[in-house]
Symmetry: C2
Subunit: 347 residues, 2 copies
């Protein structure tokens, strides 16, 4: 007997092999709030899931975790490959856990799936921190869209804070737009640099210097100390070219040797001073509120753009009009009107 | 006798005092293409009109003018008030008309209606150029939205080129986002500066230096010559901090005295060299095509955002959710979803 094609086989959907056990969100949230590491990892996996039937649970989980009031500090750390980010983060992290702090290390790296400039691909890069009971390390969520990766990392920050992590270190590699995304989710943004041969400032990506709250020159050890000092002078000079930040903070330049754990204490003092000052002048919470608003509007705008450009009729017409516009056959404003009209008529 | 309220008084609409004589677009376009200055002014007024029933005519006019192939050069000029922009533009413009070129001077100044930092409010600032038969000066279109002002100026460029103007100088004052808009509508972007007392680089707005194809230090005259030379060195040093531009152009720094017409020839030589090189390596036309595409996408995105945020239901809900988001009651991503859902359900 043939089952008619239009039979909605509801029973089939309930067959055991088709079922996906969704976690009990309330229990999972409670376990995260209790600081259970395995549950935190599981919660992050849920938030990172690409399956639409996991979204509602993920949203509900985040909401249950948002209630927790925390005193966390979120620090973004960037620098080109080879600058010693892992050693720096491991040394800073170990100093902090030794003080009794709980430290989470996250990463934003949209290229990681393409294996290019990848960071935090495995925990062996921070071998000691990885086995520290007060540290939690999580590689970058996968995905080639920065928007998606950034969103997941931002929600992971909430989960880590709910699980009692005081310090959230968000690592990013200096490519593309990742730094902008990371600087929009942290309280303090740190640029790690190396002293070069007189050309310290060459090749710094536009815009990164002005995002930095501190520039830390790593590998100030052995023969390199003198060069590091002159790099410090160069960077201080370069920072003078920029007007002061809106929060009144004047970016700090100093050097360190992550390998020999020297200067790392100073970095932490700088971050604490920043937090103290911005909490006093109200900019700390103001910045977090503005960041929340930024992500709200950014998400809406990404969605409405994706919806517009995702329409196949629009795509076809857009390609045609782009050609006419670049050949000066039609004004770009007129072409935009035609596309907007096309969309209105479809609704 | 009383006219019933629901009578659609068609005849009333045709009463002489209610009629607005729309220009005959074909005739107007032809007059513009013939280079008639009065018609060019009238055409620009049509393009600047805020009346919806003028839009179709304006679009049609632009299309008729786009057909003209021109060899125009579009130059953006920015600098803070007091730097001598008017004198610079007048001197440069007179040099060019003396060579037989036709020069149009436009402005992008969204603040002009608010009388703050206003430029080109009247033609008396460029008294000699204003009476030059080969020059055409037009103040900034009014409007407080940069998008609207930029669009009108961009279409005015098309009209001026159709009317035979070879050189289009677009002036902007160094406030807000105007420079970005102007740099997206010109071939060459020039930053006019003054030598200061050793702090030449202080207070330069972020991002402006990296937009500039040339930095010209004005008022290199009298006692100021020495200071201007040291400012030149400072700026050259500052420009080295930036990576080379995608089109291969290395920005030029030099000084001039617009008042004494010295160094202005050099500025023009630099612009010509830029045009020659970018035309040879293909970047000149590539940049114009990219600019057209930029304005197409920008216009679409401005519209869809305005449509979304312009909805009163969305506005009410957005205000409520913004409050919850900044107070950490709901995640910004969840709030965005709720708003997008609200909009979808309305359609």
């Amino acid at each position: 007997m043939t089952v008619p094609k239009n039979t909605n086989n509801k029973e089939g959907e309930n067959l055991p092999y088709k079922r996906k056990v969704l976690p009990n969100v309330s229990q999972l949230a409670q376990a995260v709030l209790n600081g259970e590491k395995a549950s935190l990892a599981r919660a992050i996996t849920l938030v990172e899931s690409a399956k639409p039937d996991h979204w509602e649970s993920a949203n509900s989980l985040i909401e249950k975790c948002l209630v927790k009031q925390t005193n966390s500090i979120r620090v973004g750390i960037t620098g080109v490959p080879g600058v010693g980010k892992s050693t720096f983060i491991e040394t800073l992290g170990k100093n902090l856990t030794a003080e009794g702090k709980k430290v989470a290390v996250l990463a934003v790296d949209p290229t990681s799936s393409k294996n290019k400039g990848s960071i935090l691909g495995d925990k062996t890069r921070m071998a000691e921190l990885a086995v520290d009971p007060n540290a939690f390390i999580r590689p970058s969520p996968s995905g080639s869209s920065l928007g998606g990766v950034a969103r997941k990392t931002r929600e992971t920050i909430i989960l880590c804070e709910a699980a009692g992590y005081d310090i959230i270190l968000v690592e990013t590699v200096g490519v593309g737009q990742s730094e902008t995304a990371v600087s929009s989710m942290v309280d303090f943004f740190l640029l790690l640099k190396l002293a070069g041969a007189g050309d310290e400032l060459q090749g710094i990506k536009r815009g990164i210097i002005e995002m930095a709250d501190a520039i830390v020159i790593n590998k100030a050890d052995g023969n390199n100390v003198k060069r590091t000092k002159s790099a410090e002078v160069e960077f201080k000079r370069a920072l003078q070219l920029y007007p002061p930040k809106d929060n009144g903070w004047v970016p700090i330049v100093h050097s360190c040797s992550a390998l020999h754990n020297s200067g790392i204490r100073e970095t932490w003092d700088v971050i604490n001073e920043f937090v103290k000052r911005t909490k006093t002048n109200g900019n700390f919470l103001k910045n977090r509120a503005l960041q929340n608003e930024h992500w709200l509007l950014q998400t809406i705008e990404d969605h409405i753009k994706t919806r517009f450009y995702g329409d196949t009729t629009i795509q076809t017409k857009l390609a045609e009009l782009k050609g006419q516009v670049t050949q000066n056959k039609i004004s770009p404003f007129r072409a935009a009107e035609l596309l907007l009209e096309l969309q209105r008529n479809k609704v």
